[in-house]
């Protein structure tokens, strides 16, 4: 968390205009600017305080957690110890389960969205446009309408079970989302055709052309798909809650849901779990910010 917090603090000092520059601005314009900056900085603080607060609280004792002090007194790792040792499933176990689910979902989305996206963008086959409309059609079918039948279908398939097969039940539902497929298709459509023509003249087949020429060019789109899929699956609550039967397979959000009623007053421990749930996504955001913003703006759908 500290690692994640520092870069943003750097950004703030690096990009905020020096006070002198603001003062040098002219009359009304400069007042307007100052007001705007004050509002922006105030709102940014409002955005960041809860996250800082949860980090601080995770290092406090239970009674201290209820006090409005910034520095934990005394500083303690009890909350984290509870999170790692007492909670069942423990933070490492939940973390591992989240990695498994989010990792699998990212892989399936990468493979299936890139191949199908390429086919819809470049290959000619019968009913292509109709099938693509069907892909988009999935976007208007709400989860709340399909969750009863999907649950029953998975039950009949034996995926609602206490064995690790249960993971597949979650992965299947979000294995390839229409927004990812759409994103890949749009990206392939934007690439020039010359390269494929050249490959064709060299006698390369479609699969070879896709793997050797087009896929290496699709880096930014693949990055966006990975981020959206990983974030969506990591943060996902609804489907895992419905599908995952054994607490041995719970992901972090499910752990949080359950602990929140069990450990109602142990806020430091609860906050340690929330920190564990947020940090990986935060790190991804710090390193891949460009792709985050692009992917959200281009698909218009948040994970």
């Amino acid at each position: 968390m500290t690692v994640a917090r520092d870069p943003s603090a750097e950004l703030l000092t690096a990009e905020r205009p020096p006070a002198a520059a603001v003062a040098a601005g002219q009359g009304r314009r400069s007042i307007r600017r100052t007001v705007a900056y004050a509002l922006l900085i105030g709102y940014s603080l409002l955005m960041l305080i809860p996250f800082v607060w949860q980090l601080i609280t995770s290092f406090k004792t239970e009674p201290d957690a209820l006090r409005l002090t910034v520095i934990p007194q005394p500083f303690t790792l009890e909350g984290w110890k509870t999170g790692f040792l007492t909670l069942d499933p423990s933070i490492p176990q939940l973390f591992l389960n989240s990695v498994i689910v989010a990792g699998l979902v990212t892989m399936t989305n990468l493979v299936l969205a890139s191949t199908a996206g390429y086919a819809f963008a470049r290959l000619r086959f019968p009913l292509r446009e109709v099938l693509f409309l069907a892909v988009l059609g999935t976007l208007i079918i709400p989860d709340q309408l399909r969750f009863v039948p999907v649950y029953l279908i998975e039950r009949q398939l034996g995926l609602i079970t206490r064995s690790p097969v249960n993971y597949i039940g979650v992965v299947l539902i979000i294995a390839v989302e229409a927004q990812q497929l759409f994103l890949m298709r749009q990206y392939f459509l934007s690439l020039p055709r010359d390269l494929e023509e050249a490959a064709k003249i060299d006698g390369a087949g479609h699969v070879t052309t896709f793997l050797r020429i087009m896929l290496p060019l699709a880096g930014p789109a693949l990055a966006a798909v990975s981020i959206l899929a990983f974030q969506g699956a990591w943060n996902g609550f609804f489907w895992p809650l419905l599908i995952l039967q054994s607490q041995d397979h719970w992901t972090l959000p499910l752990g949080l849901f359950s602990f929140r009623s069990e450990f109602r007053t142990d806020w430091p421990a609860l906050m340690s779990v929330t920190v564990a749930a947020i940090v990986p996504i935060l790190l991804m955001y710090v390193f891949f910010q460009k792709y985050f913003v692009q992917s959200v703006a281009s698909t218009g759908v948040k994970g």
């Binding site: 290959l123 086959f125 892909v135 709400p142 996902g236 913003v293």
Partner: protein, 316 residues
């Protein structure tokens, strides 16, 4: 001549073979996604309609009920409670989030320095999982939490007392304020995404129209009111549609803050939470499916109404 005769059929076969290869590759590439969609979306939707006509538990005999489930749904007071809770949430949350997001976008778009930082900071709360952020929210809003402590320190308590809230008010524990607390939480976390959408649209508006306005002596508010706001019509439509659809799905925050019962006193029972309860807790899948169908009809109608109000969706 002889060469031409021999070459032509082989070339023809080559092209046909090439077409075939392309077709097969294409179909193979799209097969798995479409297979999954057929079962998990289109098939599921039809299946939901079918199930909704039956008494359908996990065990025991099933019975065909016809429209009985729908009649039961429509006469169930909890269903109407869930509908009114959800409608209230959508009615407040959507405009509030749009206003916040638009406000942030307009300010960030002022050619201000540090745009990247502010954009990142405002987008920040969107990153956290609904579960983590809701637990943090519960912590902040509990009677001894940061919110109640902070308003005491800042000296706002007299105002809150005048409005009838004690110094240690339990915001999520009172049926009067629980949903409002969830609305604030989600407006806070979603405003960043909405800002991003508005920014994309704002950056497409040409500079010259603003120059013309400033030559005509239009002030900030007038410019916003008469130029920016109307020009953002496609953005309003787009954002409103997304938020209304999203708002009717409210579930995570409600069940985490209020449990399966949507406590206190069903004030956090949303439509989706009610479906979940009917299916998973009560094992009444037919009934749950029927609520899903009703919800689908509601949202679909609303989207059509919205289209009427805001005009056609942008072509992309």
């Amino acid at each position: 001549m002889a060469i031409g005769v021999r070459a032509r059929p082989s070339a023809g076969r080559g092209i046909r073979g090439e077409r075939r290869a392309e077709m097969l590759t294409g179909l193979a590439f799209v097969f798995i996604p479409l297979f999954l969609y057929v079962f998990l979306y289109f098939g599921a939707m039809v299946y939901a309609g079918y199930i909704s006509l039956w008494r359908w538990g996990l065990r025991g005999p099933r019975a065909f009920l016809g429209t009985q489930n729908f009649e039961n749904v429509l006469s169930d007071p909890i269903f109407w409670k869930a509908v009114s809770n959800t409608a209230y949430y959508v009615a407040i949350w959507v405009p509030l989030t749009m206003a916040l997001g638009l406000f942030l976008a307009v300010i960030v778009n002022q050619g201000i320095r540090g745009q990247t930082f502010f954009r990142a900071a405002f987008y920040f709360p969107t990153l956290a999982s609904s579960a983590a952020i809701t637990v943090v929210w519960i912590f902040l809003l509990q009677p001894e939490g940061l919110f109640n402590a902070a308003r005491g320190v800042v000296g706002l308590n007299p105002i809150f007392q005048a409005l009838g809230y004690t110094d240690n008010f339990n915001w999520l524990g009172s049926s009067r304020t629980a949903m409002n607390a969830i609305i604030l939480l989600n407006a806070w976390t979603t405003s960043g995404t909405v800002m991003l959408f508005y920014l994309t649209f704002l950056q497409q508006i040409g500079r010259d129209i603003y120059e013309a306005a400033s030559v005509d002596g239009a002030g900030n508010w007038q410019t916003f009111r008469h130029i920016t706001f109307p020009l953002l019509r496609p953005a309003h439509f787009f954002v409103a549609t997304l938020l209304v659809i999203g708002g009717f799905k409210l579930f995570d925050q409600a069940i985490i803050a209020g449990g399966k019962g949507g406590e206190p006193a069903n004030s956090l029972t949303t439509i989706v939470l009610f479906i979940y309860r009917s299916a998973i807790t009560d094992s009444e899948f037919g009934y749950a499916a029927a609520i899903g169908v009703v919800l689908f009809v509601i949202v679909f109608t609303l989207t059509l109404v919205q289209r009427r109000l805001f005009g056609e969706a942008p072509s992309w």
